[in-house]
């Protein structure tokens, strides 16, 4: 699916979206879209299972809506001090050989990827 049709699909999902409530139902379109985001290919049986699993987890996560968090800031880091940065000075050398050691395919010191455009 290209980006444009992906966008159309997503807009359709958003239009049909209900506010999170108990008993979520995951549509075929939604699971299709999640598959695109997650870069996973699911067969029909896996899609049905994924719809069920996702709905069950969302029902459970919806318990969070019992809490009034309107006055609470989202907390991403638990410690007040965060991000320990080093000076922006190069300390490592040319590590090309090591970096390519685990590549599934390499050629002339570069990763080989499938053709991305014609």
């Amino acid at each position: 699916m290209d980006n444009a049709s992906c966008r159309v699909l997503w807009e359709a999902i958003c239009d049909n979206r209900k506010e999170p409530t108990m008993a979520n139902v995951i549509s075929d379109e939604t699971i299709e879209y999640v598959g695109i985001l997650a870069k996973l290919e699911l067969d029909d049986a896996q899609k049905e299972q994924a719809k069920k699993d996702l709905a069950e987890m969302l029902d459970y996560i919806d318990e969070l809506s019992e809490l009034d968090t309107s006055a609470v800031e989202p907390m991403s880091h638990v410690h007040p001090t965060c991000n320990f940065f080093r000076e922006d000075v190069v300390t490592n050398g040319d590590d090309r050989e090591n970096i390519l050691k685990n590549a599934p395919e390499e050629k002339e010191g570069a990763f080989v990827v499938p053709k991305t455009f014609d």
Binding site: V34, A38, M57, L58, Y60, S65, T69, V78, N102
Partner: protein, 482 residues
């Protein structure tokens, strides 16, 4: 005495005193591995050749007086989600089934500098996602206390390797209880340090804001020593924190007089196995008898920790696991048409069902339109949970409770119902959300002989209080006091 019975510290003392050689210690471990691995399967990779080479080097340095530390010469195991230079690091996943790192994780490097000998890499739930070590792509690990039962997870291989005496200490990682719960199920000591204490450099990321490396050991003393070795701020991990005092062995004092211990009422409600409850409360009584002030209190938001955790952890996982694309390292599908098809096929063939489940949920809660309702909501609830602990630690030095609602389930009982498996994390998970240190210490067995774990939780940076309480309790049980 059978040298496998020694703690890591005792073994190293014997080695430094010349009573045991490093090679003899390594021999004993491999002999035991050969005898037990068929039934336990704690390891994914065993590095015999490298271990003997290292043993020789370490012995020379000990003999020359260059290595004098508390773990010099100790054979250890490493969970297979920590990079080890030149040694296969799979994360128990097909997608990393052929990955040989060209560098070692900071924690492993520090241990090696302290003179340990790495015997191998331990089994785990795939990408640390699971509570039983059954989601591994390389087969299940069995609980050495009873091989019909799981060892717990996700650091199940590390816990089993220590419990089966297939090593003297093992590193694990804990994102929602993955050190403490298998320690509890296998009857060993496991500690998850304050977030940021141990560098995550070289740890394959699952939930980066929750992941911490920590040890699984035979004794509280070994846990304190390991922590002293592997802790410290690291420029290669921007979330690592500066801490002044990293000698945790100073906390090994038998004294809880006047220590204020709080027991959250909600940790002893519905769903908790009666035998686990009795054993944990008996431990509380034992600490009380030693002079601790023990009382029950109301800890807020307990039931919201699991939904908040799975939202945050899966969101982070979906982002972290994007790097597995079949280009830079790891598995690549055989046949494909174009780049996007290659990505999709590689990932679909490379990841197991539980990993896919979490990546999909994570992708969903981060997607446009749902980000606020799910992901940001969970981060707000995380703030509330942190506040609840802050309030509790104004009153108490330590929070005491069970590690898990039951002892180790039998193999095959958990995976059929993932939701039930997630609910088993109820007592461990909030500790990760709030970044707190937590320890699991054995506190008896149930009527089937399966180990029960006591969990102690302290405020951030208060590992010393945790270790002192755990050490005091452990010494009592050793003297037959409980």
């Amino acid at each position: 005495m059978d040298l496998l019975k020694y703690s890591a510290k005792e073994l190293s003392d014997k080695i430094k005193a010349g009573e045991v050689t490093v090679k003899e210690a390594v021999d004993a471990c491999f002999a035991n591995i050969d005898a037990k691995e068929e039934s336990v399967h704690a390891y994914i990779t065993i590095c015999r050749e490298e271990a003997y080479k290292k043993a020789e080097e370490v012995q020379k340095k000990i003999d020359a007086g260059e290595l004098t530390g508390p773990f010099a010469g100790v054979p250890v195991a490493i969970k297979d989600n920590m990079c080890t230079e030149g040694i296969l690091t799979t994360c128990a996943s097909k997608i990393l089934g052929n990955f040989v790192p060209t560098y070692s994780s900071e924690a492993v490097k520090k241990l090696e500098e302290a003179g340990v000998v790495v015997l191998g890499k331990t089994n785990m739930d795939e990408f640390a996602m699971g509570s039983t070590t059954e989601t591994s792509a390389f087969g299940v690990t069995r609980n050495p206390r009873n091989t019909e039962h799981v060892p717990g997870g996700s650091s199940g291989g590390s816990a089993a390797a220590v419990a089966a005496e297939e090593c003297f200490m093992a590193l694990g990682s804990d994102t929602g209880g993955s050190i403490r719960q298998p320690a509890s199920y296998c009857g060993v000591v496991g500690i998850k340090p304050t977030y940021g204490t141990v560098s995550r450099y070289g740890l394959v990321a699952y939930g980066s804001s929750l992941d911490q490396i920590g040890p699984l050991c035979k004794t509280v003393e070994d846990a304190a020593i390991t922590l002293s070795i592997i802790s410290g701020q690291d420029q290669k991990d921007s979330t690592s924190i500066p801490r002044n005092d990293l000698d945790f062995t100073k906390a090994l004092v038998e004294d809880v007089a006047g220590m204020k211990i709080g027991i959250p009422k909600a940790y002893f409600g519905e769903g908790l196995d009666a035998e686990v409850k009795d054993a944990v409360l008996a431990a509380a009584e034992a600490l009380k008898a030693k002079g601790a002030i023990v009382e029950e209190f109301d800890l807020d938001y307990v039931k919201y920790a699991i939904p908040a955790y799975y939202t945050i952890a899966d969101a982070e996982a979906s982002s972290n696991l994007e790097r597995f694309d079949g280009i830079k390292y790891g598995y690549r599908t055989e046949e494909f048409q174009g780049l996007h098809n290659m990505y999709k096929k590689t990932r679909s063939e490379g990841f197991g069902p539980e990993v896919k489940r979490r990546i999909m949920l994570g992708s969903f809660v981060l997607s446009s339109g749902y980000y606020d309702a799910y992901y940001l909501k969970a981060l707000r609830v995380k703030a509330l949970i942190k506040q609840a602990f802050d309030k509790a630690f104004e009153k108490y030095d330590v929070i005491l409770g069970p590690v898990a609602p039951t002892t180790a389930p039998k193999l095959g009982e958990s995976l059929s119902d993932p939701m039930k498996m997630y609910l088993g994390d109820i007592y461990t998970i909030a500790v990760n959300l709030a970044g707190l240190p937590g320890i699991s210490v054995p506190c008896g067995t149930d009527s089937k002989g399966m180990p029960i774990g006591l969990q102690l939780i302290a405020d951030c940076f208060n590992e010393n209080v945790l270790l002192q309480t755990a050490y005091t309790y452990e010494q009592m049980t050793k003297k037959g006091g409980n």
